[in-house]
């Protein structure tokens, strides 16, 4: 099998694909074919050896996993639509829209990751590579994602189209070709977007802006119904001239503008990128010149373990705000959760949770739990993971305080402060007793979640190399966690929120459980940090425990 692959590679890829005809075509676009292939081989080699793990386009394992997940989604949608026998136009429209939104949300983030955090660009910036060649290599990297995701999203619908009433054999290839066309357009649009950003946004604001842009498709999906209403109110049909010729003219003008936008963005990217890459990667808003002594840090140092705890708190707070990888990953996870919560709470926040009506407030403690799960699943990884050497020089006794500092920061910022705000805001509406009890219950449950998810942070936070396959590995955990939380919410509503006294008893039990679990998690966290730094070996610990 390998021999056949080698023959195909040698005869087809090397002789034809990398031959003079393709080189001439690339040269027409200002692309140096020799260096283009060198860059593609380099990216492939770096990916195979695990150097570009945080980039989905280079990580075939993660791509295969994502493809399987999207394939499963598309099978469910295909069965549902084929069973209802919708017209082919509607069927095609649904899957193309689905493909567009999914690809846009993935490719925008990938383009940002690839262009704004390019380790390889720093090494390559002084090499004789022109912008068009580098941009083409990056675009090819995005197209690799399409080769996996477009079939994953559209093979099942293409086969399903043949089961529709009055189907023709060509419906399947039409759907696949249209999906690939859309995919290529989306990839070009993503690159062009970053070309325009590069031109107009100052380098120090570029990363933050890119993260916001990367979240737009997700927000678009969530606000789809609102957007439909908005467009309905504007009545676009009335604004477009009536005659077919005029409408065709408007269509051509819009298409022309879109093409000009894409071409302009790509030209900007290929002209400026390698010259600006040093500023781009150096970019980042100023952290401010004032020396601030944080009140939280002082409190944590006072009550949770002295200066090592303060160090843990300050390190975590600053890195969560400044680490590019963490921010890039947490935003798409948190935004839907927070927007969904805000949307649901806006309709039912006045309902007292003890009023025997189910409301979003019953889900609240578990939403805090999921928020903590997202944060803790990302904490081990960081862009500046190489700075982890510092912890090798730290006395072993400090890790316990450091761990408590990390825990205390998360508890104060994600559990304590939001619950205090809730107490102040909701006590006048629910009454002091009900509100205090609910807030205490919610805080205790969220604290249990924190003690459990803290075990996911095995090493010193932000000191492991980012890995794109972690995202796909997290999905089963989220699905199982979601199912478990659903069962707990139902049990909580039917068994606990029946009486104030039961809630009080469960709150006391949950608080005690949280206390015990936190103690054990903190010990495990401190030990695992030392173990991952090779400051303590698991074997020695096991022998020690056996003897003692």
């Amino acid at each position: 099998m390998n021999a056949i692959r080698d023959v195909v590679t040698r005869n087809f890829v090397t002789r034809w694909f990398r031959g003079p005809a393709v080189s001439r075509l690339l040269a027409r676009f200002g692309i140096d074919s020799r260096r283009y292939w060198l860059l593609l081989d380099l990216f492939g080699e770096l990916s195979d050896r695990g150097e570009m793990l945080d980039q989905l386009g280079s990580n075939r394992l993660s791509l295969k996993m994502a493809t399987r997940i999207y394939f499963a989604f598309s099978v469910i949608m295909t069965v549902a639509l084929a069973a209802t026998q919708v017209p082919f136009a509607a069927y095609l429209g649904v899957f193309l829209l689905f493909t567009t939104l999914i690809l846009l949300s993935i490719l925008l983030l990938e383009t940002g990751n690839s262009l704004l955090n390019p380790v390889e660009a720093l090494v390559l910036a002084h090499q004789p590579i022109n912008g068009a060649t580098y941009t083409a290599a990056k675009l090819t990297h995005l197209l690799l994602i399409l080769l996996y995701l477009v079939p994953g999203l559209n093979v099942a619908p293409a086969i399903g189209a043949l089961a529709l009433r009055g189907s023709h054999w060509w419906w399947a290839p039409v759907l696949l070709l249209a999906a690939f066309g859309i995919g290529i357009t989306v990839a070009f649009c993503c690159c062009a977007t970053f070309g325009w950003l590069l031109r107009f946004i100052p380098a120090r604001r570029l990363k933050a802006t890119a993260q916001l842009v990367g979240s737009l498709p997700l927000l678009g999906m969530m606000w789809m119904s609102q957007l439909e209403k908005l467009f309905g109110r504007i009545n676009l049909r009335a604004l477009i001239p009536g005659g077919p010729m005029a409408r065709r003219g408007v269509g051509v003008a819009v298409a022309g503008l879109a093409v000009a936008g894409i071409v302009g963005g790509l030209r900007s990217l290929s002209a400026d990128f390698l010259i600006r890459v040093s500023s781009v990667t150096r970019g980042g808003a100023s952290a401010g010149a004032k020396i601030r002594r944080s009140l939280t840090g002082s409190l944590i140092a006072r009550f949770f373990g002295g200066q090592p705890a303060r160090a843990g708190s300050a390190f975590l707070s600053r890195m969560m705000l400044r680490d590019w990888h963490f921010r890039r990953q947490i935003l798409p996870m948190m935004l839907p959760l927070l927007i969904g919560l805000a949307g649901a709470a806006s309709t039912s926040w006045r309902t007292d949770p003890f009023a025997r009506h189910f409301s979003v407030m019953h889900v609240l403690p578990h939403i805090f739990g999921f928020l903590l799960l997202f944060i803790c699943s990302l904490l081990p990884y960081g862009n500046d993971y190489k700075g982890g050497w510092l912890f090798l020089t730290v006395p072993a006794s400090s890790f316990s305080g450091f761990a408590r500092g990390v825990w205390a920061t998360l508890w104060l910022r994600v559990v304590a402060i939001p619950h205090i705000i809730m107490l102040i805001a909701l006590a006048p509406i629910w009454g002091m007793v009900d509100c205090s009890l609910f807030v205490a219950y919610s805080a205790a449950v969220a604290s249990i979640y924190l003690s459990l998810v803290l075990r996911m942070v095995e090493n010193v936070p932000f000191t492991r190399q980012p890995d794109a396959s972690r995202g796909t590995a997290l999905l089963p955990i989220l699905l199982m966690g979601g199912a478990a939380a659903g069962i707990v919410v139902a049990a909580q509503f039917f068994l606990v929120f029946r009486s104030v006294w039961i809630v009080l008893a469960v709150t006391v039990a949950a608080a005690a459980g949280a206390w015990l679990l936190t103690r054990s998690s903190l010990t495990a966290f401190a030990e695992s940090m030392r173990f991952h730094l090779s400051l303590a070996s698991q074997e020695t610990g096991a022998i020690y425990k056996e003897i003692s």
Partner: protein, 258 residues
């Protein structure tokens, strides 16, 4: 008249709103070894990056090898060798692979490239480690790889940003001799360093940048005689208005005792 290989004319550069270089002008001539000195944050690395085409000047005129920058940066990059301050490498590649990548990107003929890699690695005592991944290399070995990558394509202009960082004594002596030999062969070398006695020994001319301004452009001997100082270190301290170090040392020691 000496042939100029790089020209800076009233070059201004800013990172965001902070101006890093203020109207800097100087010329590098063929066969010269020029030292680039300045305190931390003075703008030395920025100057080198502008010559490399990694950064573009906000205003002023830059030309390298007779080509305008940044418009012809790709052609210029073909003719310069650059050893960056920080040894950023692809850690998963081997030393041999990294050098092959660099040589091929500079379009060096394959036979010639392999011959040069073999010779340079042997001279640097890296032959035995040529197939080890770069993440296994020590700091000095990584520095040697960076220097090797900068020389492989036989550039006209070599930009060295702290090239001796991490090198052992023998390797450092060899690099100093290599710099002299390359200059004798008509190569121009811009040498940025904080080790002033080395600069004094290897450089024909010295540029001193302070707070983004060029405050000196002369030979070490002329600088010493014009300022009445006996060493380049004293010249540097005087021109950059460095405060007397003793009070600072006393303050740190007192702070550590408190």
């Amino acid at each position: 008249m000496a042939e100029s290989i790089a020209e800076f004319e009233k070059v201004v550069f800013s990172y965001d709103r902070a101006e890093v270089l203020h109207e800097i002008s100087f010329t590098l001539n063929r066969g010269e070894v020029v030292g680039l000195l300045g305190p931390n944050g003075a703008g030395k690395s920025t100057t080198i990056k502008i010559i490399c085409g990694i950064l573009a000047a906000a205003s002023g005129r830059v030309s390298v090898c007779g080509l305008p920058m940044p418009e012809r940066s790709v052609d210029v990059k073909q003719r310069i060798g650059y050893v960056p301050e920080a040894a950023v490498l692809f850690d998963s590649l081997t030393g041999q692979e990294f050098l092959e990548l660099s040589g091929r990107l500079h379009d060096v003929d394959e036979d010639k490239l392999q011959e040069r890699i073999r010779d340079i690695l042997e001279t640097f005592n890296l032959s035995a480690d040529r197939h080890s991944r770069l993440d296994k290399y020590s700091k000095g070995m990584r520095q040697k790889i960076l220097i090797a990558a900068a020389l492989l394509h036989n550039p006209d202009l070599i930009l060295l940003d702290e090239p001796l960082s991490g090198l052992d004594v023998n390797a450092a002596i060899m690099i100093k001799d290599l710099i002299a030999a390359l200059a004798a062969g008509g190569r121009t070398i811009l040498y940025s360093s904080h080790v002033l006695d080395v600069v004094e020994k290897v450089c024909d001319r010295v540029l001193i940048i302070h707070e983004g301004r060029l405050i000196a452009d002369s030979t070490p001997a002329e600088l010493k005689s014009s300022t009445g100082q006996s060493t380049l270190e004293d010249v540097f301290r005087r021109l950059t208005n460095a405060a007397d170090v003793d009070p600072g040392v006393s303050r740190i020691v007192a702070a550590l005792r408190s």
